[in-house]
Symmetry: C2
Subunit: 125 residues, 2 copies
């Protein structure tokens, strides 16, 4: 069962899947991020979100529909209310990352400074 790790054997590391990139695209909108952040705190109905977001109801519904089509959220009915909730466990972790503060950038690689020639790690030249 247990064998060499993928990297030790030269097998390709699992890369980011097409589906995950689609998910990223679906999330990458200020309104949808706010919706998701709100849903992290608990179930919300459309009119709650409408008030919170301060945008028009049809637009809220459009964003909710998009998120639902991607399997990121879902809803249940409560009377005439649609109670939306978070479905994808990836989302809270993603939001946590997005809220994290990073104080410094990575340093430039050692083969700088700029004008020093011939150090390209790939072997080309």
């Amino acid at each position: 069962m247990v064998g060499k790790s993928a990297s030790s054997v030269g097998v390709k590391e699992p890369s980011v899947s097409w589906g995950k990139v689609e998910l990223l695209k679906a999330i990458a909108h200020p309104v949808r991020i706010m919706i998701l952040d709100e849903l992290t705190k608990g179930v919300k109905c459309v009119s709650d979100l409408e008030e919170f977001l301060d945008i028009r109801q049809p637009n809220v519904s459009q964003h909710l529909g998009l998120l639902r089509m991607h399997g990121i959220i879902d809803y249940y009915m409560d009377g005439r209310l649609r109670c939306y909730f978070l479905k994808d466990p990836f989302i809270p972790e993603m939001l946590g990352l997005l809220k994290k503060q990073y104080n410094e950038d990575f340093p430039a690689p050692v083969c700088c400074p700029v004008t020093k020639r011939g150090k390209y790690p790939g072997g080309r030249r």
Copy 2:
């Protein structure tokens, strides 16, 4: 200097900043994700990426330019090569998250099933 935490006082939790949403948008493209994943492994010049991505050079440069404009990557010159490298420490963590496998969705909240009325947590009705 030190005081109560934001949450203990009812102050709004820091939400996702506008800048972070912009960063998400910049990242949310299959080619750019591949570029970033590749740069995670080390410095790459444009023609290396061109070969790896199998798209035309001007297009590679366009994506690189976009990422650079967002402060996500930078480059140094090595002779006539532009050696691009990762600058934003957020990226590797994000890629790690994107590669993570999630086996189950969150369960629907307890106030289901659908027809049970009057349980909306927000108090409306």
